[in-house]
């Protein structure tokens, strides 16, 4: 439901004050990458058809611990203190 709601906002929404920019952008992407601008009318159905199992499967495939990178941001003086 949240996805559906956000999708409508994306279509209507602006980019730097340009209304319907989202719709234009999707039409351009679907035309460029798929040759099918009408996907803008059906892509939402694909997202709404996603089941729990599908999410587990994708998470298991891509979000693996060994692929993880963690970035810590510390002030330089804290690093100097740790080194001392």
């Amino acid at each position: 439901m949240k996805w559906q709601s956000d999708y409508y906002t994306l279509l209507e929404g602006g980019h730097g004050g340009v209304p319907r920019f989202g719709l234009m952008h999707l039409l351009a992407c679907f035309t460029l990458f798929d040759g099918e601008p009408q996907l803008v009318n059906t892509v939402l159905d694909g997202f709404l058809a996603v089941k729990k199992e599908g999410i587990y499967a994708v998470a298991g495939k891509y979000l693996r611990t060994e692929n993880r990178a963690i970035v810590f941001r510390k002030p330089a003086n804290a690093i100097a203190k740790e080194a001392a």
């Binding site: 439901m1 209507e12 004050g17």
Partner: protein, 457 residues
């Protein structure tokens, strides 16, 4: 630079006639309990956007502590008599909705958006927040801790320090002079302070419900009556504040930030509120001066001289008073040079008529941006909020573009002379004293403060 503009200019087709706007079906009425309601139908997507506004904000409680309305609004959405915070978030997700609460100087608001099919459950939640917010102690303590961090962080930001000082200088003893609470004030907030503000502000007589989106107005009005109709409560007592004195003569206020890498300039003078008949004139004059990217100030100190990345001027309207301001973050060594150009461009608009072509560009820009801003549900909602909160004429939106188009070079020069009060501008510079004091002192009598607001010798 000039030749490049000409090259691009050749390929640009002429502008077509400005298109007519089909104005949305608008309803303005009151519920049986007195709650004002404005509805506008806008059907591009099957959603709706809304705000429940209260005509009181931080300024109305500044005598207790600035920021009190803001933290009240923050905690409002964290729990009701029926739902804990987590339940609220889960319910919002289930119906595909977003909700936030906030407060400004003159108002507090619960803002929301969701799918039209679930309008009623979303309105129910808004109603609960407005009438039965529970102010859970743990949520209050968490919000207070977060506000304390924000207040500390703000004091390291030159933009904040500059606007804090300018507002003090322009508004003196008036509540608008106080833009943020001190750390001590935040630490001293008690849950009872918030519930007192809540009882006082969040009443139907003080409120205004505006909804924009894909709905039938009659059905939506019925739903609003069902949800909000039994809510009762009085308007808070209006507190008058004496009009602030308008500072005379240029003065300079230096906020000393040792080791600052650049200097934040902010200069301003009293102006007008949104309600004032000169508002559109001042808006266009400002747009031409420094309110738009291709404006004179940006072309001069950014494009031509390279003193700064993002100079800007704006007309800031609060409900009771307004002010005009110009800001630019510049390198230390060009503080005096930048101020010279800032005043040169102001005085030029006061002295010489604007060429017709430049005026036409500014009119196209302002009118075009206005039209685009109305094209989404959220944009239209924002404009209606402005109209209602400032009590503007009901045909304000419909007639705005004509008013912009009707202005002449004579109107602009008169407006600049009236409001670009060059001789009485108050100048704030935030930066390292050692680098900028002699330059700043060239522009008027100088006072120096530290980041905490303490006067230095």
């Amino acid at each position: 630079m000039a030749t490049r503009v000409a090259e691009i200019g050749k390929g640009v087709p002429a502008l077509s006639e400005e298109r007519q706007v089909t104005w949305p079906n608008r309803t303005r009425t009151r519920l049986s309990n007195g709650l004002e309601v404005v509805l506008a139908e806008s059907r591009a997507v099957p959603k709706f956007h809304g705000e429940l506004l209260f005509r009181s904000g931080n300024a109305a409680v500044a005598d207790r502590a600035p920021g009190l309305a803001e933290i009240t609004a923050d905690v409002v959405r964290t729990g009701t008599a029926k739902r804990v915070s987590r339940q609220i978030e889960e319910d919002l997700r289930r119906i595909g909705a977003d909700l936030s609460s906030s407060a400004g100087a003159d108002m507090s608001a619960i803002s929301f958006a969701g799918l039209s099919e679930f309008a009623e459950p979303l309105l129910e939640l808004v109603n609960e927040l407005a009438r039965e917010a529970a102010f859970p102690e743990a949520e209050f303590v968490r919000e207070r801790r977060q506000m304390l961090e924000e207040v500390k962080l703000e004091r390291t930001q030159p933009g904040f320090l500059a606007s804090e000082r300018l507002r003090k200088v322009l508004f003196g003893a008036h509540p608008y002079a106080q833009v943020a609470p001190s750390e001590e004030q935040v630490a001293g907030f008690r849950r009872d302070d918030l519930t007192a503000v809540y009882r006082e502000f969040y009443t139907p007589e003080n409120a205004l419900l505006i909804l924009v989106g894909d709905f039938e107005s009659a059905a939506m009005l019925k739903a609003a009556e069902k949800v909000f109709g039994r809510w009762t409560g009085k308007k808070p007592q209006a507190k008058g504040a004496p009009a602030p004195a308008n500072p005379r003569g240029r003065r300079v206020y230096l906020v000393h930030v040792p080791g600052a890498v650049q200097t934040q300039i902010l200069t301003g003078c009293h102006a007008i509120t949104r309600k004032h008949p000169d508002w559109v004139k001042l808006g266009l004059t400002n747009s031409l001066y420094g309110g738009a990217f291709n404006s004179r100030l940006v072309m001069n100190i950014r494009e031509d001289k390279g003193y700064t990345y993002s100079p800007r001027s704006s007309v800031n309207a609060l409900r009771q008073h307004g002010y005009f301001s110009i800001s630019a973050a510049v390198r230390h060594e060009v503080v005096a040079a930048s101020l010279t150009e800032i005043f040169y461009e102001l005085d030029k608009l006061r002295a010489l008529p604007v060429p017709e072509a430049e005026l036409a560009d500014a009119q196209n820009y302002l009118s075009g941006v206005f039209s685009m801003g109305l094209a989404t549900q959220e944009g239209l909602l924002g404009q209606l909020v402005t109209v209602e909160l400032n009590e503007l004429p009901q045909d304000y939106l419909e007639t705005y573009r004509e008013k912009v188009r009707a202005l002449t070079p004579n109107d602009l020069i008169a407006t600049a002379r009236k409001y670009f009060d060059s001789a009485n501008m108050q100048i704030v510079v935030v930066g390292d004293r050692a680098q900028i004091e002699p330059q700043a002192a060239l522009f008027g009598e100088l006072e120096v403060y530290d980041a905490q607001g303490k006067r230095l010798q």
